[in-house]
């Protein structure tokens, strides 16, 4: 194998693929990235056996070939080379090493055979459709904070993506929950998505995908099969296994009859919660919301640290209510709202509360109170 590639191209491709590579693995080849050169392009592939990322970039290939080299090491080398450098990659026929030359720098990297590199065996995708990167990013942004990290209920360790309907309009809906709170966001159903079976996209895949569509530009081609999901973003293809389990019937926990509505300026609310929760030193300390007519008093009482209260004016006409929440959960949810006003739909101190964005009814959040 022999080729020349510009440093920027190489770096961009490596930064896309290497983040999927685990730094510590029990199978040595999994810490490698596979490079295969053919025609006028260089193909990168990295995997952790659950998902793989493939990227193809243009390169000046003089001799085709394929090999694998330590991914993070190669990435670090290229990162430290000067901008605009032309990098020559040559594999010695005898020496099983990849030589990397850039100006005065010269590296020789240990390789492993490309034939041994695992393949995710991506089969046919039953369903294929396109969705804009910004829409997809929004789905992820607003739900991923609620993904569970607890392994016993593994089916909660991802985002549940499925088709639904809202106000008679077909939608594509993403739901995530950790058992304490739930986030649900929808977008108009893309053409071709109708009939898609619900899928649970694992947490790590969600984060990888989010990184790849960070800029929110362009269109993502999605392919879904019963066991895998594929995202094509420009020159990058991310394929992942799905979580094999059934997502709970989340519809039952979304309150339908919460009739006490509180409207509050979201920015004021976030500021106030953030300030009063400074007093709460340890994890799980509750913020108490005392709501009376058009007035919300937030208070935290920490016998060791002291206490804090803050009052904000809200829109509220129902019967007075006192309810406690985990401060971090409140901030997580309020942080997702884009509109100026947050709408809290409350029932009583022991039942789930629903939070919505007053300017956007495609997203809703449900939060379980705390009792102190």
């Amino acid at each position: 194998m022999r080729l020349v590639i510009e440093r920027g191209e190489l770096l961009r491709a490596l930064s896309h693929v290497t983040s999927v590579v685990e730094r510590r693995t029990t199978i040595p080849i999994l810490s490698n990235v596979m490079l295969s050169a053919s025609g006028r392009s260089l193909r990168f592939k990295a995997t952790d056996l659950e998902r793989e990322v493939i990227e193809v970039v243009a390169a000046d290939v003089t001799q085709p070939g394929a090999l694998t080299v330590p991914a993070h090491m190669l990435h670090d080398i290229v990162r430290k080379l000067p901008d605009g450098a032309q990098i020559e990659l040559v594999k010695d026929a005898e020496k099983e090493r990849l030589t990397l030359k850039a100006g005065p720098s010269r590296f020789a990297l240990q390789t492993l055979a490309a034939d041994d590199f695992p393949d995710l065996a991506v089969g046919e995708m039953a369903q294929e459709f396109e969705v804009s990167a910004s829409d997809l990013k929004r789905l992820i942004d607003k739900t991923r904070f609620a993904i569970s990290t607890e392994e016993t209920r593994y089916y909660l360790n991802g985002i549940y993506l499925h088709t639904a309907e809202r106000n008679g309009q077909p939608t594509l809906r993403a739901v995530a929950t950790d058992g304490h709170r739930l986030a649900q966001v929808e977008l108009p159903r893309p053409e071709g998505a109708t009939g898609m079976a619900g899928i649970i996209i694992p947490r790590k895949t969600v984060h990888e995908l989010h990184r790849l569509i960070e800029d929110g530009a362009g269109v993502v081609k999605m392919g879904v099969s019963p066991t895998k999901v594929r995202f094509e973003i420009g020159t990058v293809t991310l394929t992942s296994k799905l979580i094999d389990g059934s997502f709970p019937d989340y519809g039952r926990v979304i309150p339908q009859a919460n009739d006490k509505e509180m409207k509050v300026s979201n920015a004021e609310f976030i500021g106030a919660v953030d300030r009063v929760s400074t007093i709460a030193s340890e994890r799980g300390r509750a913020v108490k919301l005392s709501i009376t007519a058009d007035k919300l008093v937030l208070s935290v009482n920490n016998p060791e640290g002291g206490s804090a209260t803050e009052e904000i004016s809200v829109g509220y006409v129902a019967a007075p209510l006192e309810i406690g929440f985990n401060a971090r959960y409140l901030l997580d949810i309020a942080g997702q709202l884009e509109g100026e006003e947050a709408r809290f739909m409350l029932a009583d101190p022991g039942s789930p509360t629903m939070v919505r964005d007053s300017s956007d009814d495609s997203a809703l959040y449900v939060l379980m109170p705390m009792r102190v």
Partner: protein, 612 residues
């Protein structure tokens, strides 16, 4: 196979019946010793002598100075179900150790039994012999007041049993264990145990009262226990608890030194294990067991001792009350012990010093000696010392070095007042890790991190107990499938879990549904928690699983929130820490059960220099 003859049902011969009973009552020589010593105790003996030869198989002799037996009683005592101990045949009012009337006939049916007795009334001593079930007539004997029972050739009539016995040594141990247990329950009675040629145990009669009991316990459980024992006392609804428990820093790898006595009867009961674990809880490292001897006294009607042929188990009418009494009594004593830690740490330190001195004096030229593991602690001490003096690679400003605050500045110097306190006045901080304090009679070395960690932890626990546990509601309840009895046990105590922040509901007969969890646990594994809790409760009433987890979280917070080793402390800070330790319960050990300080007695230090 031969055609079976038609068999008719017939009454078994008395010898056979006795041998069957013997199989239950007399399992091994130690069981015979137990029965005979209990008889002696029931007879009001003040001095009991036990002799065994070859593990008790060839001879067991128990001699007492009790009330003795008249001729008529002597003839009857070896008959089955003959006893003087059960008044009006009332099994609900048992005030003696024995009552079944099985021991002597059982032994007599499988060995050669000789009972010689002389009652106080002044009658002539008589002897009755039973040879493997065959009773001989009474004959005169030579004896002082009391009773002497000899058992020869035990199990000679049931050779099968012989095959199942352990080594002579193991049988001797078992005999000794039985005698020890009975001796602990009766400190006022003198015991002498001779196994083979040597006297295994000589326990003089101790005076009545707690001092006598403690003296007796100390002779049996060791001098460490004597030094570290906390008196236990409590009473609730007619059930009285007394005894002694060791400090948490005194522990063993097994529960063999935990003794429970119910109405003076040594018993083994799961109840004790669970209660002790609940009371000592986070004071002990995992897999270590404290030493203790507890005496529960309750009306005979409130306990059923007729459960087990050898009476090793009992049944309480209200086990939960006894359990909470034990936990309460222990917790109270442990909290009252405050910062006290075992003195053994100090003794071990002194020993280490002595060991250090020896190789130096010998000045052995052999380099191999230094690699011997025995001398490695002193080696480490020297080398760290050496690096203190020999940091020549990077030369320090000598002038500044002498200023470095390893000694307490004059203004921090303690007043005579703090020297009089139990943990004394802080004198210096060494290696930025250890506080050296001086009391009137000793030198105290405190591990600052361990001590402060415990203080923070105790404070957090107190907050948890006072402020209640904040609960996070579950949006999606967790349903955990359990065995039906586990689920039932768990639901029965739902109130207890609620107090700790776990709200459970029954969900069919084989599952529970978790609605709310302690917020402190965050996104922990709820199912695992419930399973641990259920199996703990169902097996030995152990309810620690939930509390353990909460405390584990507290302990992590405490670890992060406390003064680390390597932090330089001022004299004021050090003294404040010492005062805090004196005021805080359980501050004698860190969260992992290690001592937080050691005390070197002045007398020990003087001994090091040969000044005693």
């Amino acid at each position: 196979m031969r055609e079976a003859q038609p068999l008719t049902i017939r009454q078994l011969a008395p010898e056979t019946v006795n041998r069957i009973a013997a199989g239950e009552v007399i399992e091994r020589p130690a069981s015979a010793v137990k029965e005979l010593v209990e008889n002696a105790l029931d007879a009001g003996a003040r001095e009991i002598e036990i002799v065994t030869v070859s593990g008790g198989l060839s001879l067991i002799r128990v001699t007492d100075d009790g009330c003795g037996m008249e001729a008529r009683d002597l003839a009857l005592c070896v008959e089955r179900h003959a006893t003087s101990k059960l008044r009006d045949d009332d099994l609900f009012d048992i005030r003696t150790l024995g009552f079944r009337g099985e021991a002597l006939p059982s032994i007599g049916s499988i060995a050669t039994l000789s009972v010689a007795s002389r009652p106080r009334a002044g009658a002539a001593p008589l002897e009755v012999v039973v040879d493997r079930g065959e009773k001989h007539p009474l004959k005169p004997a030579a004896l002082n007041f009391g009773t002497r029972i000899e058992v020869r050739d035990l199990f000679s009539a049931t050779p099968a049993r012989l095959k199942f016995l352990k080594s002579e040594r193991a049988e001797n141990m078992a005999v000794s264990d039985v005698v020890k247990r009975l001796a602990m329950a009766h400190p006022g009675v003198g015991f002498t145990l001779t196994t083979g040629e040597r006297t295994g145990l000589r326990l003089p009669a101790a005076p009545d009262g707690p001092e006598g009991l403690l003296a007796r316990l100390g002779r049996i459980m060791g001098a460490d226990f004597l030094a570290d024992a906390l008196p236990i006392a409590g009473e609730r609804e007619g059930v009285a608890l007394s005894g002694f428990a060791g400090l948490p820093t005194l522990h063993r790898p097994d529960a063999s030194q935990q003794y429970l006595f119910v109405n003076g009867r040594p018993v083994r009961d799961k109840l004790l294990v669970g209660s002790v674990r609940a009371a000592y809880g986070d004071l002990l490292p995992k897999g270590r067991y404290p030493l203790l001897a507890l005496f529960v006294t309750l009306p005979p009607a409130a306990v059923d001792v007729n459960v087990h042929p050898a009476k090793a188990e009992v049944r309480f009418r209200d086990a939960a009350a006894v359990r909470s009494l034990i936990i309460g009594g222990l917790s109270q004593a442990l909290a009252a012990a405050g910062h006290r830690a075992t003195l053994r740490g100090g003794a071990m330190t002194i020993d280490a010093f002595v060991a250090a001195a020896t190789p130096q004096r010998e000045a052995s030229p052999s380099p191999n000696l230094s690699s011997a593991p025995r001398s490695s602690p002193p080696q480490a001490a020297y080398s760290s010392r050496a690096s203190g003096f020999g940091e020549a690679m990077q030369a320090p400003f000598a002038a500044f070095d002498s200023l470095s605050a390893e000694t307490v500045r004059a203004e921090d110097l303690p007043t005579a007042d703090s020297i009089a306190r139990p943990l004394g006045a802080a004198r210096a901080q060494l290696h930025e890790t250890y506080i050296v304090a001086q009391t009137e009679t000793s030198v105290i070395i405190v591990d600052q991190h361990a001590a402060h960690e415990r203080l923070v932890y105790e404070r957090m626990k107190a907050m948890l107990a006072n402020g209640g546990v904040a609960r996070q509601g579950l949006l999606i309840p967790v349903v955990v499938t359990l065995e039906p009895d586990e689920a039932a046990c768990l639901i029965e105590r739902a109130c207890e879990w609620a107090a700790l922040g776990l709200i459970l509901e029954s969900f069919g007969s084989t599952a529970v549904c978790v609605r709310e969890v302690p917020a402190l646990l965050g996104h922990g594994d709820v199912e695992g928690l419930v399973r641990d809790l259920a199996s703990g409760v169902a097996n030995d009433g152990d309810t620690r699983a939930l509390q353990d987890r909460l405390e584990a979280v507290c302990s992590t917070f405490a670890c992060h929130g406390s003064v680390r080793a390597g932090r330089r402390l001022t004299g004021v800070e050090m003294n404040a820490l010492l005062r805090d330790m004196e005021a805080t319960p359980h501050s004698g050990q860190c969260n992992h059960g290690r001592p937080t300080y050691v005390e070197l007695k002045l007398t020990d230090i003087e001994r090091l220099f040969g000044r005693s």
